[in-house]
């Protein structure tokens, strides 16, 4: 069974603070995606990282893929109330013609004003 563990499961911080959430696995992924899900809606893709060690920035959000492509982190600088949501990571595994997307359980983030 391939697992993708996200930590912490829940995080509540004040607006303006920095935070990092993690996505870890023992499996090697072809790529890894980060999604944000708001209450009552489906997940929306934020970014895809592909190369080991890759860093991508999306305004105040910084995504990093581990060198071994087994883990990833999301760092938010100066969090805003609009960042509140469930952050999901999903790792892509490809074996020949088989394709599988493994989902983490998510980190529920609340940014307090």
């Amino acid at each position: 069974t391939q697992l993708l563990e996200q930590s912490p499961q829940f995080l509540s911080i004040q607006e303006g603070e920095n935070l990092t959430v993690y996505c870890n696995s023992s499996s090697v992924f072809s790529s890894l995606q980060w999604y944000r899900q708001e209450p009552g809606e489906g997940p929306v893709l934020l970014v895809t990282v592909v190369t080991g060690g890759e860093v991508k920035k999306l305004k105040r959000l910084t995504f990093q893929f581990g060198d071994a492509r087994k883990d990833s982190s999301l760092h938010i600088t100066a969090a805003q109330t609009g960042d509140t949501g469930l952050y999901l990571c999903a790792g892509e595994i490809r074996e020949d013609s088989n394709y599988q997307l493994i989902w983490g359980a998510g980190t529920k983030l609340i940014i307090k004003p």
Partner: protein
């Protein structure tokens, strides 16, 4: 484009009842997926389809059935509802799962309560 739409948004079923969750996409995507999301758990793939007329089981297919008669529609059928099927169901689509780094587009979800 409306993207991926799902109906109904919310439904209460009695044990043993059946229902169909509807999913439609207008992006001409080949691949469509059904997931369930339980509290504190990740998305679990129920069924997927690679094109009209072709469906395959995902991780948790028991108790569900699907069909794909058109590119746009991918309904999910629950034949004998059980309390364990209480969940939020998401439909998603992508152009192709054979392309690298494929993006899945999700619908707003159907919240199902089985009592």
């Amino acid at each position: 484009n409306a993207g991926v739409t799902q109906t109904p948004k919310f439904r209460i079923l009695k044990i043993g009842q059946s229902m169909t969750l509807q999913c439609t996409q207008d992006m001409n995507h080949n691949y469509m997926y059904w997931y369930r999301q339980d509290p504190g758990m990740g998305l679990k793939l129920i069924y997927y389809s690679v094109g009209a007329g072709i469906t395959d089981k995902g991780e948790v297919p028991n108790g569900y059935n699907v069909s794909r008669s058109t590119t746009e529609d991918f309904p999910l059928r629950l034949e004998l509802a059980a309390p364990s099927q209480t969940s939020v169901y998401f439909c998603a689509s992508s152009y192709s799962a054979r392309q690298y780094q494929e993006t899945q587009y999700f619908g707003p979800g159907t919240r199902l309560l089985v009592l």
